[in-house]
């Protein structure tokens, strides 16, 4: 094969568009310069529709985990009761962050591969009406479940005075988010997923209601103190040196999302989800999640009975340069995951399925070559009618 060709189909990091690479190649500028302030004000403003908010979206130089800790640290104080919906490895991490901060952490454990049962959630909210925050993972990367975050936020509002704090790391920029309309108080994402950038930036949307809490609470951290970020926000600056080249790239990402328009971006992710699921189904491999719970950005596939999924992943990596993700924690060795977010098109899904088909055959699994590709093609042709005559 063309030995350096690679297909990065993990649920983050994701491929970087050439336009974004070019933007990151601009000459370095000082982070206290007018040029930077212009850049930063521009990108900060253009992040708002992606978060569905009129409130500021703060930019941190850290991974998504750093931003999740920022959220927890700024809206809670030691001993506060919080409810964490744990539906996979990243819900589990969210709970670990709360425990690290010595919060009274109520875990609502959900079977991995499912979204939260709303009756159970309601019961938990009623039992713990004194909770100060409810933490939920919008898109659970480890399972490929998109939680109905609007309905969850509504239940939280109905039954408690808690803030709704949402980990949107592996979906924001690829799925709808309306912080203001849905009453989400904190929404966090990272740069290396649907936002089409290398890792290194994280974005934190904060509601007015959350700000009241933050001002009352303070932060235990120097670096992650949101009040410091807010102080510099109007000046187009950050309190500490930001990852300037990534912010240069972010400007181009915003342009790309605006050109395609957000509704079309979200539709593309839906189509890629439907194509991936139809293709995998046509090959006879079981999907981990139901259609209703399925994520538009990542699909988890259970192996066929005779398939060593990790050996299969190594095979397609070595043979075709295709990177797929494995299972995490209790799903290790049980599933493989296909990322389809950010700089990824329906045609890329067809390419990916074709390599998966060949890899399966070469790993001794009896599937029909081309069947997954065909099913995906049919979805594409039906879901996205051609506009040319």
């Amino acid at each position: 094969m063309l030995h350096d060709q690679t297909f990065l189909r993990t649920p983050g990091p994701t491929p970087i568009p050439q336009r974004v690479t070019h933007a990151m190649n601009q000459p370095m500028i000082g982070h206290r310069s007018k040029s930077f302030a212009q850049l930063f004000k521009d990108t900060s403003t253009r992040l708002k529709p992606i978060f569905g908010t009129d409130q500021p979206v703060y930019v941190l130089t850290s991974s998504g985990t750093g931003a999740l800790e920022t959220a927890v640290d700024n809206v809670t104080s030691k001993g506060d009761k919080v409810i964490v919906v744990v539906a996979g490895a990243f819900g589990d991490r969210f709970a670990s962050i709360c425990e690290k901060h010595e919060l009274s952490t109520v875990r609502l454990d959900v079977p991995w591969g499912e979204s939260v049962n709303q009756d159970l959630l309601t019961a938990t909210l009623r039992e713990h009406q004194d909770a100060t925050a409810v933490l939920v993972t919008y898109n659970e990367t480890s399972t490929g479940v998109l939680q109905p975050i609007d309905e969850i936020a509504e239940l939280v509002q109905t039954h408690t005075n808690a803030l709704t704090v949402v980990d949107g790391v592996s979906c924001i920029g690829g799925v709808p988010a309306y912080m203001d309309r849905w009453d989400i108080d904190i929404l966090v994402t990272g740069s290396q997923k649907a936002m089409m950038l290398p890792a290194g930036l994280a974005f934190v949307g904060v509601s007015k209601r959350a700000w009241e809490r933050i001002q009352a609470n303070g932060s235990s951290s120097f670096y992650f103190d949101l009040q410091q970020y807010d102080k510099q926000y109007e000046n187009g600056m950050t309190p500490y040196t930001p990852a300037v080249s990534l912010i240069q790239g972010l400007q181009e990402v915003c342009a790309m999302l605006e050109e395609e328009t957000l509704p079309e971006v979200y539709k593309r992710h839906e189509v890629m989800k439907n194509m991936t699921r139809a293709g995998i189904r046509a090959l006879g491999l079981p999907l981990l999640t139901s259609d209703e719970d399925a994520s538009p950005t990542v699909t988890s596939v259970k192996g066929a009975e005779d398939l060593d999924v990790d050996a299969f992943r190594n095979h397609v990596r070595d043979r075709f340069g295709l990177s797929l993700a494995g299972g995490q924690k209790q799903l290790k060795g049980q599933i493989f995951r296909i990322g389809h977010m950010g700089y990824c098109s329906p045609v890329d899904i067809i390419t990916t399925l074709s390599m998966i088909e060949m890899g399966l055959v070469e790993c001794g699994i009896n599937i029909e070559l081309g069947a997954g590709v065909k099913a995906a093609q049919e979805v594409l042709i039906n879901d996205v009618p051609s506009t040319s005559k």
Copy 2:
């Protein structure tokens, strides 16, 4: 002028070499892949000589400030007594981090523009022998003073059992550092200074002695918990998603430093310091620091009597694209600062001085055009004899 030509002569960020930009343009790779583990092990090993240590140097995705907080958070516990040498804005920030972490913080304030008086330091160490850590800024970016960190570490060892924790953000990679030989326990730097990268990474060297303290203490942070970084270190991984593209660039930075050799890199910075100082002196402008205290990476210049330094900086920026830094906090409006570190050569110093000369004349200051350039040329010719016949 060529309107998009720029000369970034701030003490961070600094220009990015084309080779490093190319390295950062490589296709994105997964941070849990074999390729990444190879890259990370390679760069981690190659950082060691830059820090002068056989111990691990950890890579964080954050600014330098995040890494300074990491140092404080991991080696101290609430209520511990620490001594902070405050010789400028970054010493002040170090003290603020300690105060945020509710340490009993003893500030040893040093006049801005000077290094610490060793008799005073000795007296302070004797008075506070129960201090658990002494925090010092190796190169105070706000003043352009390089502290004699080897001598300071020796005094700390002689008079206390405290750890020596060093902020090397604006010099490591441009000046000698021998953590092991000098008994430095924690040494921190950022990526955007002498390390020739965009901001977004920070590096933390940790001594064996510091590890004992860290294991006993634990960390109050989830994201900045060094024990988590250490757990993944041998696997060539980081606990949370790292800024992969910057690490790809770091590999090329290591290659560049190795090709030039560290002794030659340090010599180049010395020569640039001497050229800058000779040039400024020849123009009759006063320098903030003595020759003995002067930093090889940044030079602070007091304005001439009639010079509005900030108007001058704006003028050279608009006229020539030359970025100089201003004074911070109590030095605001008093000085301008010339950065000469990282991807900067003696010839760049001549260019910079020539623009400073023209800018001064255009701002109405009576200096002799070419005098600074000539003095710098003489230093270069004397200090670095030509090797061609």
